[in-house]
Subunit: 342 residues, 2 copies
DNA sequence: CGAAAAAGTGTAAGCGTTTACAATTTTTAC
DNA sequence: GTAAAAATTGTAAACGCTTACACTTTTTCG
């Protein structure tokens, strides 16, 4: 049944015998509404199937009822998982999810981050997924009036959920070192330059720390910049094979890049762990099948957790709040792509 | 630089020396605006960096500036690809993308499809990705006033982009039959019941047609309902192995399900093509690596194409239009999981 | 019990657009 | 050159909500 005309707050006011103003307050659980009025309004609203018009609400200074998720790309496994988990939380809290993919493009990134006040007009909050931010951008975001939360970003002045990237990378690298490998390459995510707060910066740090603990240093030639994707890993590995000698072990910053590396290896008649040991981070559903050693992280949990924190902030606007960085556990999973160096 | 207060249409009117009304019309390229006025308005708007408030616009009867994408799930490879491609088109046309995942849940589905008039209030159009619709739901959608386009849905009264599912399935199945297999199982997507318009219905039909051409009939026990995901394929295959004899070949309706089947096989000490031949549909980036035979389809293209059609409709509201079903090409790719039956 | 304080409710003015419709200017046609 | 038609522009009323402020009712307390 499609109602000819959506019920307006006016209709609810008439049905409940109260003024529009009281209805508005009752509906938003503002103070100064008697229990009786509260009940009457709730009944009337329910009876009419009333839902506030987000446009009108927004225009009058209320909320938009939607939250944006900004991700470097929407296709990577990690982001698709996190986005869906967050979307679920948002939907259950009554928010629409506006998806904004940066498409791994600086131009798109600039456009999106450059119009925060425009964004603030269309959504109540933003969930950032691994978006590298400069200090200025952080300041702009804070000034935009948007509620903010993030996944995978350290040292930001808002709630963040992630894993201990440095530790995860350290664990992966240490695993390789423990197996006797000392000639290590890392497939690092792009965008590690600038005053970055990106995941891959920390992962690189963990890699370096593990090496240092074994009295080794990071060789710049073996820090390969690769897109965090199958294709990125494949290209990086292909290049590595073509232009340098293959190291004895490789730490890929995500499983998909490791998959790509595995492919490139096979294209050149090589394989893991025979010619090179490989470990990733993620525990992608294909990793088990491919025997990829990796550091597992809870992805959907991160998205859902951060989304919940954001919703909470939105629902208690005034509440004092101390931004926190929540780190979820990771676990090294040894499979078949890593083995002792002989 | 963050402007203290966003420029309103009022500001543009003053700067251009015209009335709000004329500005509004000029901005939306409506008729009855002199070239001179058009120019003045454009200049003033540009100078002020003016962008209409979507909330106000919407409230007054204009457009919302956003489009919803509704998908059965957002994590599956196919959907993630299509969503990102569509989002790109929408963003480039100035629309926000509202992502709505049905999470493969009937309850969510019901909620979303049951409040189309609510949705119509928040977005201008909807891009449906493989959403099974009843006749009533199609009627509701048509009545909602939303512009609609879809991917992977046949026989719908709006623009659709897809592949010839029946043909793709026929090609995959015929490949298996041509290899001498006659004992075939199919891993079919769920939700093929009811007055469905879903992809998998057509794929099942293609499967049946190929069998019929070889004077074989579809054995109900070998039509396995499986989620279109790695896990779905894995569960289905596990069950198949446990409760029946393994057929000599399997047609999986998507590559991810085939991956899952491959996993289950391995867990039971079996493998393709040794114990069973397997073919999928998609050409997922991992398929090449796993040697999976498949029928390749252009995924991002479908999303982008449909998104473009939707934008066109939105930009020419009045224009007469004949809904069309655009079918993109597919291609059988024979790899290593299929071979002649001995 | 009465005055002051507190709690609850209503009035009316926006918020920034779109859009009938009226008013004005320009063009057309005789 | 003028009346009628066409094109352009402006006025003002929505759209459905929030909120400052005024008003009324209830509670508190000496």
């Amino acid at each position: 049944m499609v109602r000819a005309h959506r019920a307006t707050i006016q209709d609810v006011a008439v049905l409940s015998g109260l003024s529009i103003c009281t209805v508005s307050r009752a509906l938003r659980n503002l103070p100064n509404v008697s229990e009786k009025a509260q009940r009457q309004v709730a009944d009337a609203a329910a009876k009419l199937g009333y839902k506030a018009s987000s446009a009108a609400s927004r225009l009058a200074g209320g909320s938009t009822g939607s939250i944006a998720i900004i991700a470097p790309t929407a296709t990577a496994w990690f982001f698709a998982q996190a986005v869906e988990a967050a979307e679920e939380v948002f939907a259950d809290s009554g928010y629409d999810t506006v998806l904004i993919s940066l498409r791994n493009k600086a131009s798109v990134r600039r456009k999106v981050l450059g119009d925060l006040s425009g964004l603030a007009q269309r959504v109540d909050g933003v969930l950032l997924l691994n978006v590298e931010l400069s200090d200025d951008e952080i300041a702009d975001l804070l000034a935009s009036g948007l509620a903010v939360a993030s996944v995978g970003m350290s040292k930001v002045p808002w709630d963040n959920v992630g894993i201990d990237d440095e530790h995860a990378a350290w664990a992966a690298t240490s695993h390789l070192l423990g197996l006797g490998h000392w000639d290590l390459a890392v497939l690092a995510g792009r965008e590690t330059r600038g005053n970055s707060v990106l995941t891959s910066g920390d992962r690189l740090k963990g890699f370096g720390r593990a090496l240092a603990e074994h009295h080794l240093t990071v060789h710049p030639d073996l820090v390969i910049s690769a897109d965090s994707s199958i294709d990125g890993g494949r290209r990086a590995m292909t290049e590595l094979i073509a232009h340098r000698s293959v190291p004895s072990a490789i730490f890929a910053e995500c499983d998909e890049a490791a998959f790509g590396a595995l492919m490139a290896l096979r294209e050149h008649g090589l394989s893991a762990p025979k010619n090179v040991s490989i470990i990733g981070i993620d525990d992608h559903p294909m990793s088990w099948f491919l025997g990829l050693s990796t550091v597992a992280q809870p992805v959907a949990d991160q998205g859902a957790f951060a989304a919940n924190l954001l919703c909470e902030r939105l629902q208690n606007p005034g509440a004092p709040h101390q931004a926190a960085n929540h780190l979820l556990d990771t676990k090294l999973i040894e499979r078949k792509t890593t083995r002792r160096k002989r």
